[in-house]
């Protein structure tokens, strides 16, 4: 059911951990639903110079976190804003249908970390971040933010 890539990113997740002096931290998900993702970012010269995550969740949740951080690391803030769950899924060589929501969660976690960064640093929120949905409520018999 999982691609080799997903299994590899689950078993050897890249960028796990915390950043003590993070510029932005975003947490999405709900423990009741069984997934929580937290992304930590460090921003230098308009670029995401460091990014790490901690994830409570299934194989796909861990793998999408790992892959998303890999794709984002070193990107400019503008580039980071363009990351969609589709890119993550492609990079992982596919996800089973019932696991698509994990990739959405990863996208949301990054956006939450970016919102945190802009807010903490009193910067104006880019348009793209104004509509950030929360995945907190998307549990229990409802499609969980599956786009």
């Amino acid at each position: 059911m999982y691609s080799e890539k997903v299994l590899d990113h689950f078993t050897h997740p890249r960028n796990v951990g915390e950043i003590a002096d993070a510029d932005g931290v975003g947490t999405v998900g709900n423990p009741r639903c069984g997934d929580i993702m937290r992304f930590y970012i460090k921003v230098e010269d308009g670029r995401i110079s460091d990014i790490t995550f901690k994830t409570f969740g299934c194989g796909a949740a861990v793998a999408t976190s790992s892959m998303a951080t890999e794709l984002i690391r070193g990107k400019t803030l503008d580039e980071a804003l363009q990351l969609t769950n589709k890119t993550v899924i492609e990079a992982l060589e596919g996800l089973p249908p019932q696991k698509i929501h994990c990739s959405v969660l990863a996208e949301e976690a990054l956006r939450a970390a970016l919102v945190d960064y802009y807010t903490k640093h009193n910067l104006p929120l880019p348009k793209e971040l104004e509509t950030t949905a929360s995945c907190d409520v998307c549990c229990r018999n409802e499609p969980r933010c599956d786009k």
């Binding site: 078993t11 997740p13 937290r38 901690k54 994830t55 409570f56 194989g59």
Partner: protein, 393 residues
């Protein structure tokens, strides 16, 4: 090290079973319904297996109908009894912790106009015979309670429930897929009308099972076809599978008691080795449980991730977490015993068989400890050596 610890899902075929099956897969390919010699020898093998399957539960050979596995047996028992009893009533009693082969069949029957009462269980997973008694009405045409649960291993009070069914003259079915060949069962003492079993849970092959149907039971045919199984189940007989099931049953008749003792000891050592993990708990009844079942919830980590991490350590295990079941909720069994979602998500089941060794149990204990540590280190809900919800408790 490689340790297969998912024997409740399926078991490795034993050498005895494999060797018994081989000739029937190749050289001895006759159709048991044929009257010529190679057909007759296949027929004899099928009948020999029937005797072995029957004798393990005190049934008569002609009360055994071979099916393609536990799910077909469950479908047959439920739909067959419901349709045969339709004129008497429409009410069926079962439980919230049945296997999906039961629950989905019951849902389908509800769509056809039957009424289904699913009984609650207590926090150990036990069904209360008193609840059964209270649920019985004039309209009740079937009571069905599983012999032992596949996820948490709890063994149900089948004999007591059978007495209630007998007193009310209501047909009584049990899904014994997890129990058959593992614990003693007697269809007469338990007042059973029908009993489902599946070969691959007792070191037999996949895709073969049986339904015990007490002589005189009113039951509609489920799988219509030729005259096989005395007209009760159509389809050219899976001779190799049937022989394999027969041999597996026979091996259980020889070794079940001693195996159960040994496996129970392994299981108890496994449980004792895992429970020291902080915020872990056993699920299911502490003592009334299947010999091989050791199932847990470990807080702060997620079941599918546990299974995949154990896999990377060479350990095959399973989980009733939402993710691993592909649904949004943790398993209905973990919900039925009243576990909060956050706890149920951390479910892991290790199920042992007679082929597991002491050294394997040692390895399982260390692998689960290592898995819990690794995943907790990556978990945003694990803070200061406790799950973040602990502070709210």
């Amino acid at each position: 090290m490689f340790v297969y610890a998912d024997n409740a899902a399926t078991t490795p075929v034993s050498d005895a079973v494999f060797n018994a099956m081989l000739p029937w897969l190749h050289d001895r390919y006759g159709n048991p319904s044929a009257i010529y010699s190679v057909g007759r020898e296949a027929k004899a093998a099928v009948e020999d297996a029937r005797v072995k399957v029957a004798s393990l539960i005190g049934a008569r050979p002609e009360e055994i109908v071979f099916t393609a596995g536990g799910s077909e047996s469950d479908n047959y028992a439920l739909k067959g009894t419901a349709y045969a009893g339709r004129k008497k009533g429409r009410h069926i009693i079962s439980t919230k912790i049945e296997h999906h082969a039961m629950l989905h069949t019951l849902e389908w029957l509800e769509k056809q106009g039957f009424e289904v009462t699913l009984l609650d269980v207590d926090s150990d997973g036990l069904v209360s015979p008193d609840d059964v008694k209270r649920a019985v009405s004039d309209n009740t045409i079937l009571i069905s309670v599983m012999a032992a649960n596949n996820e948490i291993g709890t063994i149900e009070p089948i004999a007591e429930i059978g007495e209630i069914a007998a007193a009310h003259k209501i047909p009584f079915h049990t899904d014994a897929v997890q129990a058959y060949g593992h614990i003693p069962l007697n269809v007469r003492e338990m007042n059973l009308s029908t009993l489902s079993l599946s070969a691959h849970k007792l070191r037999g092959p996949k895709g073969i099972g049986a339904l015990y149907i007490k002589n005189g039971t009113h039951i509609d045919t489920f799988l219509h076809g030729g005259g096989q199984e005395r007209g009760r189940r159509g389809g050219t007989e899976n001779v190799a599978g049937i022989v394999g099931l027969g041999e597996a049953a026979y091996q259980c008749s020889l070794h079940m008691a001693e195996d159960a003792k040994r496996v129970t000891a392994l299981r108890d050592r496994l449980i004792a080795g895992i429970l020291p993990i902080p915020y872990s708990r056993l699920t299911g009844h502490p003592t009334r449980r299947l010999p091989g079942n050791a199932s847990f919830c470990i807080e702060g980590i997620e079941g599918e991730a546990i299974v995949l991490t154990l896999d990377s350590l060479g350990v095959m295990a399973s989980s009733g977490s939402a993710c691993s079941s592909g649904s949004l909720d943790p398993s209905h069994v973990l919900m039925a015993i009243g576990l909060p979602h956050v706890v149920a998500h951390g479910s892991v089941r290790l199920s042992l068989g007679p082929q597991n060794t002491d050294a394997e149990v040692d390895y399982l204990i260390s692998a689960v400890h290592k898995t819990a540590e690794d995943l907790r280190a990556k978990s945003p809900v694990w803070e200061n050596n406790a799950p973040m919800w602990a502070k709210f408790e």
